[in-house]
Amino acid sequence: MALLEVENLRVEFPTRRGSLLALDDVSFQIEEGEVLGVVGESGAGKSLTGAAIIGLLEPPGRVTAGEIKLEDRRIDNLSYEEMRKIRGEKIGAIFQDPLTSLNPLYTIGRQLIETIRVHMDLTQEEAKGRAIDLLGEVGIPAAERRIDSYPHEFSGGMRQRVVIALALCANPRLIIADEPTTALDVSIQAQIIALIKKLCREHKTAVMLITHDMGVIAETADRVAVMYAGRIAEVGPVRRVVKQPKHPYTVGLMGAIPMVGHDVERLTQIDGAMPRLTEIPRGCSFNPRCPKVFARCREERPELMHAGRNAEAACWQFDKEGRRG
């Protein structure tokens, strides 16, 4: 049984001119303790997937189909209050910008202690002890003293460590890290990624690591899901995806990662740009940019299908029966 199962998830934004389909038929799983990398261009739907899982889609966005199961229990239809208890306690989250993730008016200690006490039955003193331990664990030096500091008294990298400590407060089973290093200095990015990786290994916490940095994924993740225009284009173990990408979009992405730290978004390896939600073409949404496009791609939308050992890709190339072109 997987820790998290997302099945046929669909997220829509109702607008005056019809509904925007932002996520369509997204399915994937995360095992206990596993690091799943989620990669794709900006606007592919990575953050929305994370937000849907923790039940914090911004209205009017909402889940209109599919299921999300955590430890075999459906969580997509829970009440706000039930879901609130899962946030932080079962699923932690880390966002992109550590500079703005912390409340500027409270000491980090206060923010840690309130989070700990919301989820665990501890006294103020016990919670403070735990907060100091957590700060030590994420590598804040002199934690007993620094616990009374305000966020602005820390550097960006240190703040992101505090954010990680906050996400770990109640020892969640899964952490959703949405571009946790994008806003940081390049020199600090590797440290933060290494820290997340180490902590999650130690606590056996699974991670959904959202990024558009294929280098980070290659180094950190166990498996990768590649997203394109609100769908999953390909899923598989990281080594296989890097060495033998199946989906033409992934092939393009991989051809475009000469080095660690390089930004997928700025690459021009694949001609054209990802379509906007209102302009998604008929058939496969990648077809106008695809070097291997054939007639069927312009007509029918492919589902994820078996594409060789350890490989699933949403591409008609791999459809045994109907292969043409």
Binding site: I54, L56, R84, K85, I86, R87, G88, E89, G92, A93, F95, D97, T100, S101, L102, N103, P104, L105, Y106, E114, T115, V118, H119, Y150, H152, E153, V163, L166, A167, C169, A170
Partner: protein, 330 residues
């Protein structure tokens, strides 16, 4: 922090000197006080004698120095109209104004803040929309119209509340209060509601828009993602972050209540400083006008000073930046 406060105090004193100078100019260039004190038929010699005795023929600087010295001691001379010391007139009227302004300030804050928070959190609720629409009336109707409407309904038609005066007041030392009698309480209802309405609307709308702004920030999203209960997020995290602008507006609010109280006091014949001031204007009673100006400025400046200090208490970021710059670093 001490350095910052000292700097603020210094600024406050500078502002007060400028205001004193303006009110001193009033003395010298608006009307001729002697005209007001002697009759039309007084001879030129009589007038000159009077000018000499009032010190009006001394050099400008000497006169300003004397004015400042007196002002510091609360001496503003004799009212032309009432022929009594201005200081005594003002101190008789001040409690009425301060009680009215105090009641209005409390009313506007106690209603404005919770309504602002509520409409900020329950953004799409019908109740919020209703409150906002009603509050628009508060900003768009002039104070005197509201006052007159209230008088028409509650005094003329229903006869529940008095249309003028403070009711029966009780003397506590030099302070006269209306809060110890039923008639005093009845009398202050309409004037304070009239005065508070506009300010309450401003506070409500400011708190609401600040709340909406704060609710969109990353740290509120992150607080949700940490699983904090709504109550903690709304009041502990969101509301506290609206406090700096809200304190600013409340400071300004108390200041403008004093200014607007002139109109309210006139409408309700409230025996306060504003009413005294309006009567003084009609008579070109310069000493009273000058004293009122200086006093109101002093109140404004004090409130501002207080607000600046409150920022420190609320926002830790200011504490650090200021001590750094005050310590001469960076």
């Amino acid at each position: 922090m001490t350095a910052y406060i000292l700097q603020r105090v210094f600024q406050a004193v500078a502002v007060m000197i400028v205001v004193a100078f303006v009110s001193f100019l009033l003395f010298n260039f608006v009307g001729d006080p002697v005209d007001n004190m002697v009759g039309q038929e007084a001879s030129f010699e009589d007038r000159e004698a009077m000018r000499d005795s009032l010190g009006l023929n001394d050099p400008f600087i000497v006169q300003f120095g004397r004015f400042l010295g007196n002002a510091v001691q609360g001496e503003f001379g004799i009212s032309y109209r009432l022929q009594r010391p201005v200081a005594a007139l003002i101190s008789e009227r001040m409690p009425a104004t301060l009680e009215l302004v105090g009641a209005s300030a409390i009313l506007s804050i106690l209603l404005g803040i919770p309504l602002g928070v509520y409409t900020g959190i329950k953004r799409y609720a019908m109740s919020s929309r209703t409150i906002l629409t009603l509050s628009l009336i508060g900003v768009s109707l002039p104070t005197f119209v509201i006052g007159i409407l209230l008088i028409y309904v509650f005094s003329v038609n229903l006869g529940w509340l008095p249309s003028f005066g403070r009711g029966q007041v009780t003397q506590l030392g030099w302070w006269s209060t209306g809060f110890l009698t039923v008639s005093g309480w009845k009398a202050i209802i309409m004037p304070s509601v009239t005065l508070a309405l506009f300010q309450m609307t401003l506070i409500l709308r400011l708190v609401r828009s600040e709340m909406l702004e704060v609710m969109r920030t990353d740290y509120i999203k992150f607080a949700r993602a940490r699983g904090l209960p709504d109550r903690m997020i709304n009041f502990g995290h969101a509301f506290k972050n609206t406090l700096v602008p809200v304190i600013t507006i409340i400071g300004l609010n108390v200041g403008s209540l004093i200014a607007f109280s002139i109109i309210t006091e006139t409408v309700f014949q409230w025996p306060g400083m504003g009413f005294l001031f309006i009567q003084a204007v009609g008579f070109a009673d310069i000493p009273v006008m000058a004293a009122y100006l200086v006093l109101v400025a002093a109140i404004f400046v004090t409130i501002n000073l207080f607000v600046d200090i409150l920022y420190f208490v609320v926002d830790p970021r200011l504490r650090v930046e200021r001590t750094v710059s005050a310590g001469g670093g960076e």
